[in-house]
Structure formats: structure tokens, C-alpha cells
Amino acid sequence: MQQHVSVSRGGAGQRGLVRLTARFGKRPIDLLFRGITLLFVLIVLAVILGVALVLVVNAWPTITRFGRSFLTNQAFDPVHNIFGVGPAIFGTLVTSAFALLFAVPIGVGASIFVVDFCPRPLRIPLAFFTDLLAAVPSVIYGLFGFLVLAPWLQHTGEPWLQQHLGFLPLFQGPIQGVGILAAGMILTVMVLPLIIAVSREVMLTVPTDQREAMLALGATRWEAIRYAVLPFSRVGILGGVILALGRALGETMAVTMVIGNQATKPSASLFQTGYTLSSVIANQFGEATPGLFFSAVIEAGLIVFVITFITNALARWLISSLERKGTRGVRV
């Protein structure tokens, strides 16, 4: 496709250029540019590899020292040199599960509204606002959670729950406002826009003739969605849920500010305080003395890194399998 500029101008330099061009099939400047581009790309690759490497290398002492028990040891105890993220993993899993439990039905429901019922003029503003929810920085959710939600839970929400549903172990125990319930609620709001966005995209790819087929049989709106749209979208929505899970598992600031960051004796209560893997890192890095303590903090980070790697890869594989089915591409 390229035209070779005539090099009848002679001279050793020109001959060199010709030789270079003939050798690589490209002009030198193109080689240079390609080289620079490739260099930058390699730097990017090096970054991620570097991150993984740095984490593993610096977590090595505690990995070798504690092995699997790192995951179950109960605390960061520099005095006795025992480190573990058991309660952190517990806190991470419980708050994320809580968030998904509520965010998935709310998110899918809201996206059904956007895709199906929403009056035309409202559609774009609605999409804009739900996307805006995703752009709010984590620290602001944390501020809101700490200054507004937690006090409300402490004075109104949790007492009400304890009074009316206190027979459930979920709602027993001391009330502090901050805790797993507060963190779960904030996380729900934070992953909600992600689920809405993915579900919305996925449902829009369902061919309209499916829906029409159901409607022509005399189905109600709900029946058309249930039998035509949802089965088609199942896989994609699942991908979105897993993405949201990854997001919830790694969320740091908002959770750190409302979860209380104290390990009490683990109980089944939602009112208990606790911490998550990310909040451990945020809270402990400053205390970390060189050696095992330092290594423990890094290992917590490594665990977060690995978990989010897995959930991300899984989610993208699921969503890309939709693209392979030949429907319109879904870009998240």
C-alpha cells in the first residue's frame, strides 16, 4: 500500500535508507514510531506484571510462614508475630454478599423499567443519572455513610429492626450504627449502577421479535419479559453480577469509613463491626514494621488482587460469550 519515494538523489545516507526500507519493508520513521509505540505497550504490560511481582515478592515472608492459615488467623498481632485475615475475609464476603443480595433485584428491576416501561423522553436523563451514581467518588459515599447513614442506623434503623425482628440473630447484639449493615447498605448503592448498566445493555440486545412473539400470544408485559427477554439475558446479567461482585470485594474507602474497623467476637449479627481486606490495608499500612507485619499487609493486597483478577476474567468471559453468539456487542 505504500509508495516508495524515489531515491534517485543518491548519497550514502540515502542508500542506507533504501537498504533499511528494503530490509524491513517500511520507512525508518515508521520503524521508529512503531518501536516507540511498542515500547509504551511493553511498559504497560510491565506495569501489571510488576504489580503482581511486587505483591508476591513482598508477601513472600508471610506466605511461606503461614501458608493457608493466613486466611484463618484471627488478627494482626505484631506482639506475638501472628498475622491473619480471617475476620477481614469474613467482613469482605458478608458485606459483598449483602450488597449483591439487594443490588441485583433492584438493579435488574430498574433496568427493566429503563428498557421496557420508561417513557421515551425520560430514557436518556435516566441513563445519565444512573451512570452518575457510578461516578461519585468512594470517599463521598463514605462521608455520607459515616455522617448520615450510620447515625440514622444507630438511632432509628437498627433499634427498629431489633425491636420488631429481634428474634433473628441477624438483628441482635449491641447497636453502634457503624458496622456490617451500614457497609452493606453503602456497597449496595455503589454496585447498583454497574448492574443497571450491564443489564440494560444486555436486555437491549435481545431481538425484538422474541418479545413480539410473546406479546402476539397474548402475554402480559411481565410474561413477555419472563419468557422472552430474561432467558436470553441470563448469561450477560450474570456477567454483570460477577463484575459487581469484584467491585464490591475491592471497595476500600466507603467501607473503611462505615464498617467500624474493630474486630468484635464474630457473631451472626448484622450490627457487629468488623473489617474487610481493603480496610485492613488502609488501616494497617502505617503501623507496619518491616518484616512480617509489612509482609502481611502486602499479602492482604495480593489476596484482593487475585480475587478481583478472577472475578473480572470470569465476568468478561461470560459477557464475551454473548458476543460470540452473534448478538450485538456489549461493551462494559
Partner: protein, 250 residues
Amino acid sequence: MAITVEHLNAWYDRKQALYDINLSIPPLSITAMIGPSGCGKSTFVRCLNRMHEEIPDARVEGKVLVEGVNIYARSIKPRYVRQHIGMVFQQPNPLPTRSIFENVAMGPRINGLARGSSLQELVEQSLQQAALWDEVKDQLQAPATQLSGGQQQRLCIARALANQPKVLLMDEPSSALDPISTLQIEELISELKQTYTIIIVTHNMQQAGRVADRTVFFLLGRIVEEGETTALFSHPQKKETEEYVSGRFG
């Protein structure tokens, strides 16, 4: 069931697609809607089972009387209309995540027409009416997508029939199919007219000539001419009709 259309007008948002349509359709017959693309024939047919209004910003005015009852009356919900006026689409659209049996059974299931063994009988009966039973009776649980194009369309016909409609609307049912399947569908339609009132949209005039008792010619959202099929084709009254059926445009 006899259908009478009175002063029907339809819009897509602000653009009017149908202008003052008046038509009578005799029961147990096959009526074909012909005309060049964009003339409104599909829109008209979708007004008959109230599917047109499912399009955002679409609007319908006028009356459609089925055995004397105006289906656009305020008190009547569209979904009840659609159970009795079934539709088959241009592209076969079986539900891909469901089996052959479940596809046919979908209508009766949601409308509560049959259950258990009587549902099985209904499915068999519908598949036989659609001339598909012999080909699928041993693989009812197989996914519907395994069938060929022609078979899928007959499946869609069976699915529509299982709902026990009185009227069957077919929007270019064989235009996406190969010639042999097309012929099979046409034979099927001729059989079905003994039990159902059938309205078929087609851009293929020969098809109209082969199956339809009456034909209606649409142009630019209006009915130009309608009448008994052979008469319309051999002695068209209007100039536009004559030009269309002789292939001078379309």
C-alpha cells in the same frame, strides 16, 4: 369471524401510515394484502391484533369490529384481543431457549387454556394442523432452534394455532423461506381456511393469486382497490392496481 374495519387511521409518532381504511373481511376465508413496500399493509395487519400500539409513540384511531365487538374499545385489554387474533411473523421466531413442545404450549399455558394431558393433546393437534407433527413427534423436547427455517415457521404457526384463535394474521410468512417450504406453507394455509379466518400479507403477487379468495391492494397508506382475487388480477378497476399487478412498479 367476520371483521369489519371502519375509518382506521394509524401513525408512527407524527407520520401517518394509514388513511381512513374501511374494509370488510368475510369469515373462513383467505384475504391477501398486497402492495409495494412501505404501503402500509403490514401496519394495517398489526392494527388488527393491536400490536401496532406496542411501538413507542405509535397511535391508532378508528374501529375494528370482530363479530360486532370493537376491539379498540376502552374496556378491552389488548392481550385478550391477541389471544383470539393470532399472528405469524415474517422471520420465524421460536423461543430459542425452549423446546418444540414448550414453544407450542406457551400460548395455552399463559392463557390457561389447557393443562396436563389435555395440553399434550392440544399441542399434538396444533402440530398436526401445521403439518409438522410427523416430523417432530419423536423429538418434542429438542430445542426449537434445531429445526430448519421452514419447520420453524410451521412451528410458529402451530404455536399461534395452539392459542385457539379465531383469526390468523400472517405477515409475509414465507418470504424468508426457500421455495419448497413456501409451497408447503401455502398448502397449509389453504387447509387452515376451513377453520380460521386468515389474513395474509404478501409482496409476492403469485402467492396471493394461489391462496387468497380476496385481495386488497394498498398504496401509500390507503386501500386502492379490493375484491375477489381472480377478478382483481384479471380485470383491475383502477389504473394503479393495473400497473402494480402487471409489474410496472413495486
